[in-house]
């Protein structure tokens, strides 16, 4: 298959692995901040291919994992209401709130529907005007434009029973927060390819410039990831801190203008709470006031919620900041498994702990 097979070619992989070794990088820690990268690294055993001194850690790249429990609880509250249909991406189904999950509520009779696209959520509303339909808007900059267009369509058509529970978050502010806070020393970022198709490479210039951290925007196949590691290794060795684009077949300097405009039309940035990390300024999206009729928070009178502490022993917060590996968590693999997850990192298909459990970690 084109655009996939070439980037999985074992011969190319072998050459890149050799090139990384030849580049003789100093001990360095690379953080990826995208759940798909986390999974790809696990699935292809990338860590095993790298020289020992190059460490790959995961950051808060799983949008499901960083959605606060309070938001999940609030959304579960909506799901439990009669007369409400909730629509969500499949990932959210098993994520535990403080007491329940969408899957558990569905088993109790809640009308919870998995959709592949936010437009399916809107279609669900159109098809059943007798019920309220709420869509759970989870995701980073990749998914926000599609959700924005859906919201705009709902408003344009005056769909009376559709609303959005928006918990979209933004990557660049999170990177700044990690570098400003108590994150582990990060010598380079492997940046998310699909987020970058939307926001462009220029969005990361402040990170490289202000924090002097090398950045490479990477695709998701083994060849992409290894080439990006090579580019980062060379930057570190040469003392450079630039934003480089490995994923040129999909990412441009200015990103997708139409998508950015769609987002700006209905959303505005806001301070946002990241599970395990805390509030990061200007790191989330909220529905603009002129669209408040379609904002589930407004429609259902959901107000500011206190952050709920993680279950005792759960290290999701540390894992999300890259300060702990899944294996460091006392619950990993024993009381926290994909079948019975305690924290979101285990249950999300892009969660760091799920990736370790599934693919075997280091």
């Amino acid at each position: 298959m084109r655009h996939i097979d070439e980037y999985r070619d074992p011969e190319q992989v072998r050459k890149l692995v050799a090139a990384i070794r030849e580049a003789s990088p100093p001990p360095m820690t690379i953080m990826e901040v995208c759940g798909t990268h986390t999974m790809a690294v696990g699935r292809y055993g990338i860590r095993q291919l790298l020289p020992q001194q190059v460490r790959l850690i995961s950051g808060p790249g799983c949008p499901v994992c960083v959605t606060p429990q309070s938001d999940i609880d609030a959304f579960l509250g909506l799901a439990a209401r009669p007369g409400v249909t909730v629509t969500t991406f499949g990932d959210m189904l098993r994520v535990p709130g403080s007491k329940s999950s969408l899957e558990a509520e569905r088993a109790r009779g809640a009308d919870v529907r998995i959709v592949y696209s936010p437009t399916d959520g809107l279609e669900t509303a159109r098809r059943n005007l007798a019920k309220e339909t709420v869509f759970f808007g989870v995701g980073f900059e990749t998914t926000a434009p599609g959700v924005a267009l859906t919201l705009a369509a709902a408003a344009r058509e005056n769909v009376p029973n559709f609303s959005l529970y928006c918990v979209h978050k933004l990557i660049p502010p999170a990177l700044s927060a990690l570098l400003s806070g108590e994150a582990p020393a990060v010598d380079g970022f492997l940046l998310p390819g699909h987020v970058s198709t939307i926001i462009g490479t220029s969005a990361y210039e402040p990170i490289a410039r202000d924090f002097h951290v090398p950045c490479v925007i990477s695709g998701f196949e083994p060849v992409d990831i290894l080439q990006s590691v090579l580019m980062l290794a060379r930057q570190v060795k040469e003392g450079r801190a630039e934003v480089e684009n490995q994923y040129r077949r999909a990412v441009t300097p200015n990103g997708n203008f139409a998508a950015q405009q769609a987002v700006e039309a209905v959303f505005e940035p806001c301070d946002s709470s990241w599970r395990g990390i805390g509030v990061i300024p200007a790191s989330g999206l909220k529905v603009r006031q002129e669209y408040e009729a379609y904002d589930a928070l407004h429609r259902f009178g959901i107000s500011e919620m206190a952050e709920i502490p993680e279950p005792a022993g759960c290290l999701c917060g540390e894992v999300l900041k890259g300060r702990a590996r899944p294996a460091d968590c006392p619950l990993f693999g024993s009381s926290c498994t994909p079948a019975e997850p305690v924290g979101p990192c285990m249950v999300s298909s892009e969660g760091t702990c799920a990736a370790w459990y599934h693919y075997g970690g280091e």
């Binding site: 996939i4 074992p10 055993g45 298909s349």
Partner: protein, 324 residues
């Protein structure tokens, strides 16, 4: 699910037959060795490219018997029908079951029908049970079991993965691909018979249904206390199914198959078994995909195309498409 089966069902109902943990129970009646099995079918949608719930219900049970190295003989069929289900749908399913039973060479010996109120069942659920006879040689049965895999054994797979699960998912979610994905639903008893004819040292057989190849291998690894090691590049996946998996972010190793078999064979018999598979219409793309090792017991390892190794865990739940 595995815990539910282990703790509740095996805990309360356990006995030497059930405790084997194979898909069929195998026991003696007089001088005959009998395999006996049951399966329920709740597939949605009822009709999909390459099959329907009726066809699946017959072949599913036939295939479980085949994997006990038994010749499937008789099946039963119980229907739970939701009130209001239209007659045309029911007739089409039953017609399909008749055709499937004929194709598999089995006779429907008994049945049952229940109608439940609207909403109490999703249109139709079918449960089939089946019985078959093991082959014997001078009174000794040719036994195969998930617990009989031994270090050194070869792991064979009869053909491409993921066709059934992706065909059903595509139809259910209304996803249209350029090449239609067709379920591989088929009775594998003939294919298995050909292998047993050609090779006296088949140790285990498993049809990789729900949970896919990964789950089937894990079950055998646990039952036998061995390690299964398979090569990713050896595992065949048809192009249309592969494209669907890539698009939805689903791993083909976890997708259900309804017309395939995994065979664990002593090393000296593997070539003959593979030859026999490839000579059969359902096994033309049969390949050797790996081998059985002594340890770590209960684990399945996947060798990637890059030569590194990762663990293939047991599936949990349905494969769900990823978020972004």
């Amino acid at each position: 699910m595995a815990e539910l089966i282990d703790q509740l069902f095996l805990g309360k109902l356990g006995n030497p037959v059930l405790d084997q943990r194979d898909d069929s129970g195998v026991f003696q009646i007089g001088n005959s060795y009998v395999a006996f099995t049951t399966d329920s079918f709740v597939v949605d949608p009822l009709f999909f490219p390459g099959g329907d719930i009726g066809r699946l219900a017959v072949f599913g049970t036939v295939n479980d018997l085949a994997c006990a190295a038994a010749t499937p003989l008789y099946i039963t069929s119980s229907f739970i029908l939701e009130e209001g289900l239209d007659m045309a749908t029911l007739e089409a399913v039953v017609d399909s079951m008749r055709a499937a039973a004929d194709e598999a060479g089995v006779t429907v010996a008994a049945g049952d029908t229940k109608v439940v109120p609207n909403g109490a069942a999703d249109r139709m659920f079918i449960t089939t049970a089946g019985i078959g006879l093991l082959r014997t040689d001078s009174g000794r049965p040719y036994l195969v079991s998930g617990s009989l895999a031994r270090p050194g054994d070869a792991v064979l797979l009869s053909g491409t993965l993921a066709d059934h699960g992706m065909a059903v998912m595509s139809r259910r979610e209304g996803l249209a691909f350029e090449s239609e994905i067709v379920s591989d639903a088929a009775p594998i008893s003939g294919l298995v018979a050909a292998v047993l004819d050609a090779c006296p040292s088949v140790h285990a057989l498993r049809d990789p249904t729900r949970g896919g190849l990964a789950s089937a291998l894990n079950e055998i690894a646990r039952q036998s206390g061995v390690c299964m090691e398979v090569e990713e590049s050896a595992i065949p996946v048809g192009e249309p199914a592969r494209a669907a998996c890539e698009l939805l972010g689903i791993d083909p190793l976890y997708v259900a198959n309804e017309g395939k078999v995994v065979a664990i064979i002593a090393p000296e018999g593997a070539d003959a078994a593979l030859e026999a598979m490839r000579s059969h219409p359902l096994g033309r793309q049969a390949v050797r995909i790996g081998k059985v090792l002594e340890s770590p017991a209960g684990r399945v390892h996947l060798i990637t195309p890059y030569g590194n190794r990762r663990i293939l865990v047991l599936a949990h739940g349905e494969p769900l498409p990823r978020i972004c």
